[in-house]
């Protein structure tokens, strides 16, 4: 059967999106594949479709439990029953059941932690898998933002077993990360698909301020005068709340968003934004994962993000509908120092290494540090992993090295705030690609007429009013 027919039969689409077909064909040729596709561009189809043609189960390793749950639910909505999430949420008896019937599933989702359990490994090694998928593969790279040590361990497991093709998926990665993925997973001359990172409909603005106070003034003025929907990215929770409050005071429909709010509140804000009840979200980098709003017109960074990958991912949330959109990076003197402070704040230090050993000497489990709030969860994960592999001195050297790498990443981002060259060319070049064509209003350095992109904000947007409880109850249950 032609791939297109399978696509229509199981998914109801008539054509592939860029990259999907190339990736799937490579899998059928039994090649390992590294596919870099942006979020919302149909990454998961690259393994879902093969799942229906290969007569063997597809194993998907996914580091984020919530993401895994989303993917399982999505498949179930399409009517797929032979799908299971083998993770720590299962009870002992559920797990026993799932393991017993494992070969009967078409899609098996699991976490790196689970994959390291002996009984899971034993079961998998007796089975014939059709494909192994490593989702969010950039987590494998210790240079990545969310490094997962357990991912390194699965790399070791991969090299032991007689395995089917491996498909490594990620939304963001540089050459360096791609190299890490290839080496760590011991991929065999993989086929690499890298999407075009350039987004020609997003115009790249940049504004430099001498004084921080001017920045505040500029932001308030800009948001008052130009139309959303937009996202304002901030470097801290506190700042997000302050700006949000100021914009609300100015009569702009705004909400703050960060990981400190409860899950319900976060979902309410996302939904309000998608439904058009809010024009601006003032957020930390916690905002964006899984948001699907095609008509975001502006993304403004109040200060530079930690690295170019994050910057591209965040600005890429604008203009998914293909219509013109604007990304503006703001810079004032010393922003890079703040960025450096923030990126290393999450790293374990030499002091943490000593403390870890001290606790071990006292026969206390080192996770006590985490419980005491002495360091973040990510930091503990990194520390715990390396101290089981290497000596204290080696780990200290490694941590130093990590901090330097993070500084270097900030420096590269800093260059984007300073360059006099075409910003688009620089950004695309960072990902090892060549810019083929410059769009109109390309970037700050090539020249932008802001008034050609920004629409004037319509004053007096309808503020949502509360209605009496009886009416709200009817609306909720009956839809009227």
């Amino acid at each position: 059967m032609e791939l297109e027919q399978t696509l229509a039969k199981y998914f109801g689409y008539t054509t592939f999106r860029p990259g999907q077909k190339e990736v799937i064909e490579a899998i059928f040729e039994e090649k390992d594949v590294i596919a870099l596709l942006p979020t919302g561009m149909g990454k998961s189809l690259c393994y879902q479709l093969p799942g229906y043609i290969l007569q063997k189960p597809v194993l998907i390793v996914s580091p984020l439990l919530s993401l895994m749950q989303d993917q399982v639910e999505e498949l179930k909505r399409f009517g797929e029953k032979r799908v299971v999430a083998l993770n720590s949420f299962l009870t002992v008896s559920e797990k026993r059941y799932v393991l017993h019937f494992l070969e009967q599933y078409r899609f098996i989702f699991t976490s790196p932690e689970m994959l390291l359990q002996q009984q899971v490994q034993d079961k998998l090694s007796q089975m014939q898998l059709g494909l192994i998928v490593v989702d969010e593969a950039h987590c494998i790279s210790q240079w990545g933002f969310d490094f997962r040590p357990d991912y390194l361990r699965i790399g070791q497991w991969f090299s032991q077993v007689n395995r089917p093709p491996v498909l490594a998926l990620s939304a963001t990665a540089t050459n360096k990360v791609v190299n890490d993925i290839r080496d760590t997973l011991s991929l065999d001359t993989p086929f690499e698909f890298l999407y075009n990172v350039d987004r020609p409909n997003i115009h790249l603005g940049r504004v430099v301020f001498e004084d921080k106070a001017d920045k505040v003034h500029w932001i308030l003025q800009h948001v008052k005068e130009t139309a959303g929907p937009g996202i304002l990215y901030m470097s801290s929770r506190k700042r997000a709340e302050q700006y949000s409050e100021a914009l609300i005071q100015a009569g702009i429909r705004t909400a703050a968003y960060h990981a400190g709010y409860g899950a319900e509140d976060r979902q309410f804000i996302q939904q309000q934004f998608i439904d058009g009840e809010l024009d601006w979200i003032v957020a930390t980098n916690a905002f964006g994962m899984g948001i699907n709003k095609p008509d975001i017109r502006q993304v403004i960074h109040e200060t530079m993000p930690a690295n170019v990958e994050n910057y591209m991912q965040e600005l890429g949330r604008a203009g998914r509908d293909g219509q013109p959109a604007l990304a503006i990076l703001l810079y004032s003197d010393g922003d890079e120092e703040l960025a450096k402070f923030v990126v290393t704040g999450d790293l374990p230090t030499a002091g943490h290494v000593d403390r870890y050993q001290e606790l071990l000497n006292q026969q206390v489990h080192p996770s006590q540090m985490l419980k005491n709030g002495e360091l973040s969860e990510t930091a503990f994960r990194v520390l715990d992993y390396w101290l089981q592999q290497e000596t204290m001195e080696q780990v200290k050297v490694r941590l130093n090295h990590l901090a330097l790498e993070k500084y270097r990443a900030v420096d590269k981002m800093y260059k984007m705030t300073q360059t006099k060259d075409c910003i688009r060319k620089q950004l695309v070049g960072y990902f090892g690609q060549k810019l083929l064509k410059k769009p109109e209003n390309c970037c700050e350095n090539c020249g932008i007429h802001y008034d050609e992109i920004n629409k004037v904000r319509l004053k007096e947007e309808k503020k949502i009013e509360m209605i009496p409880w009886e009416s709200r109850l009817k609306q909720l249950l009956l839809g009227c």
Binding site: R77, Q267, F268, M466, P468, Q475, L476, G479
Partner: protein, 342 residues
């Protein structure tokens, strides 16, 4: 609202505890001391209202009280209410919390309820996919079973649930604004809920006060649903959430024997425990069980005397009462105090 609640607790604790005792009550601390305070000072309503209350928030409220001269602190950590504070406490109306019987389970009720409403809202709109407001798999599977059992696909359950909700909200003796508040913590298709922040600024109060008003409404609603059998669907959603087993296991066994008619002495022999232990159990029973009568141990006149003395001397200290009310044992005094004034 938070300040009023705190002031009421301080008033009830009657200057006989440290300020931390109030904190433990609100956080629902399960220590012997706190549980005993609940009974002695009749603080059941407030128990465990805010299990995650940060100490900082609590301390800030206390310093406000000090600033307003509502109370003064002693070095021991004890406090004394001042006239202004007592007046203030008397001015506030009583709240309808029932922390003792729900202990945070109101949030389980609401998680189930919001997921049911969200599912039905999307179903009414003909939209099959949405991201569930509750990520908790236990809640999700509970709701799935509930919906399937009620044949939600035939579309009648919406009408029935609407009718029950309208009826129950109409009878609750709470403000329209608070009923509205709870409705805006629900979401549905094209009807996002409001965040605590948004609700607080609309109501011109703090987030904490919004959350307390929300909890009060849920407690009141749950009690209405549990006390009558008039709300079959809501009754199911609330099933198992009212805490019944208030007693420790050992006290439960003593209670069982006592209900069968055994005397204290017989229970001591059967259970091979000290008399004082059995007496502790009976005090616990008196504290928790509304139907437990202290009549077999204390006459009405004796109880009356204890109450009058307690009022007269403004104390619930056993030692003081033992001195001023003649001829009563500590056990009898504790029973009277545990039972509370009739």
């Amino acid at each position: 609202m938070f300040h009023q609640i705190l002031l009421q607790i301080f008033q009830k604790l009657n200057n006989e505890r440290t300020i931390s005792a109030a904190y433990h009550v609100l956080r629902g601390k399960r220590s012997g001391q706190t549980i005993q305070d609940i009974g002695l000072f009749q603080l059941h309503n407030y128990f465990g209202l805010l299990p995650k209350l940060p100490r900082k928030t609590f301390d800030e409220a206390v310093s406000t009280f000090l600033q307003y001269s509502w109370l003064i602190m002693q070095e021991s950590g004890h406090y004394s209410m001042k006239k202004l504070g007592l007046q203030r406490a008397d001015q506030t109306s009583d709240f309808l919390f029932d922390g003792w019987h729900y202990r945070g389970n109101e949030h389980v009720f609401f998680a189930r309820f919001s997921l049911i409403v969200q599912s039905l809202s999307y179903q009414s709109a003909g939209v099959r996919t949405f991201s569930p407001i509750s990520r908790d798999t236990a809640i999700q599977s509970w709701v799935r079973t509930f919906l399937v059992e009620h044949n939600y696909q035939d579309g009648h359950i919406q009408q029935r649930l609407l009718e029950e909700c309208e009826r129950v909200l109409a009878v609750l003796p709470l403000s329209e604004a608070n009923k509205q508040l709870v409705l805006y913590r629900l979401s549905g298709h094209s009807l996002p809920g409001w965040t605590w922040q948004q609700l607080a600024s609309e109501r011109k109060e703090t987030v904490l006060d919004c959350q307390l008003a929300f909890i009060e409404l849920l407690h009141t609603l749950l009690n209405e649903v549990h006390q009558t059998n008039d709300y079959p669907l809501l009754g199911e959603v609330a099933e198992g959430l009212r805490v019944k087993a208030l007693l420790t296991d050992s006290a439960q066994q003593t209670a069982h024997l006592y209900e069968q008619g055994y005397s204290i002495e017989q229970i001591v022999q059967i259970r091979k425990l000290k008399q004082s232990t059995i007496e502790d159990h009976l005090v616990e029973l008196a504290m928790n069980e509304p139907n437990f009568s202290i009549g077999p141990f204390v006459s009405y006149e004796e109880a009356e005397k204890v109450w009058q003395a307690s009022k007269h001397y403004q104390t619930k200290k056993l030692k003081t009462l033992h001195e001023v009310v003649e001829g009563m044992s500590y056990f009898q005094l504790r029973l009277v105090l545990a039972k509370g004034e009739v």
